[in-house]
């Protein structure tokens, strides 16, 4: 482990990232996270971005959109999903969701519902034939 660089820094940084991962639905004060991780705000943002390619704020938005996609995949109504992942207005949620995914939340939800129905009705269309055959799933 002698070549392990700045372990204590990584642990604090990872704890801050995991805090965002588990508290994304709340009104997170990113300044507070920097304080809790014992970093200056400037140093925290710089280190976070160099490690995760996003500032803490960009990462929080990214996680909220990823979680929103998962909830919409499961069929959640758009308004409920918006508030469940920590957005305070439907307008900003829709705007950011479209910017990240290329679709509005309602269009994405509709697409996922069609895809889900297709997978349920004809699962073999989503499975390479050789695997389906070896498992005895192909019609005789």
């Amino acid at each position: 482990m002698s070549d392990y660089p700045k372990m204590y820094l990584y642990r604090r940084l990872v704890q801050a990232k995991l805090f965002i991962d588990s508290h994304y639905a709340e009104a997170i004060d990113l300044d507070l996270i920097a304080d809790e991780a014992s970093f200056s705000k400037f140093h925290f943002i710089k280190l976070f971005k160099s490690t995760y390619r996003r500032t803490p704020h960009q990462y929080l938005t990214f996680i909220r959109i990823q979680k929103a996609k998962a909830l919409l995949d499961a069929g959640g109504p758009v308004t409920e999903v918006c508030y469940a992942v920590g957005f305070e207005s439907l307008g900003s949620f829709s705007l950011l969701f479209k910017r990240v995914t290329g679709h509005t939340p309602s269009a994405y939800l509709a697409q996922q519902q069609v895809l889900k129905a297709e997978k349920a009705a004809a699962p073999l269309r989503f499975i390479p034939g050789c695997f389906a055959e070896s498992r005895g799933w192909l019609p005789k």
């Binding site: 482990m1 372990m7 990872v14 995991l18 699962p123 005895g136």
Partner: protein, 137 residues
């Protein structure tokens, strides 16, 4: 001419537990999860950033056709016989700390090797994987 890898199998002991491990601990994306009318479940996940690569989380029972072979394969998987894949990351120390915090078991902590910095971890079944940060070109 072969152009791309699209699917590869990982033999797992329990699909539900494997789904939790790959999605919640490794951050993989669930792709297809459908029960088959004849029994069995088709379950695939993709590594982050590679939605066109599906890893099939395939239970032992679908990979052996007799109880003896199932028992043998289970034992082989459990005891860490299979080294399955290499995953890369941008920052191995941050990734290692995060995975450890989530309870992933490492056989080898990040160590500098001639090809980059490498750690080795196991999945919830016993399969092992290399986690590498390769030198920037």
């Amino acid at each position: 001419m072969i152009s791309k890898l699209t699917h590869s199998s990982i033999i797992v002991l329990d699909q539900t537990s494997a789904h939790d491990f790959y999605v919640n601990k490794l951050g993989f994306t669930p792709v297809v999860d459908v029960p088959m009318p004849q029994g069995g479940r088709w379950l695939t996940v993709s590594p982050p950033g590679q939605p066109d690569v599906e890893l099939i989380l395939s239970p032992v029972e679908q990979n052996a056709n007799t109880p003896e072979k199932v028992a043998l394969l289970t034992e082989l998987v459990k005891t860490g016989t299979f080294g399955v894949a290499v995953f890369t990351c941008d920052d191995i120390y941050a990734t290692y700390e995060e995975m450890k915090a989530k309870g992933v078991h490492f056989k080898k902590a990040p160590t500098k090797e001639f090809y980059g910095t490498e750690a080795i971890f196991k999945d919830d079944s016993g399969n092992w994987f290399s986690l590498a940060q390769l030198p920037k070109p």
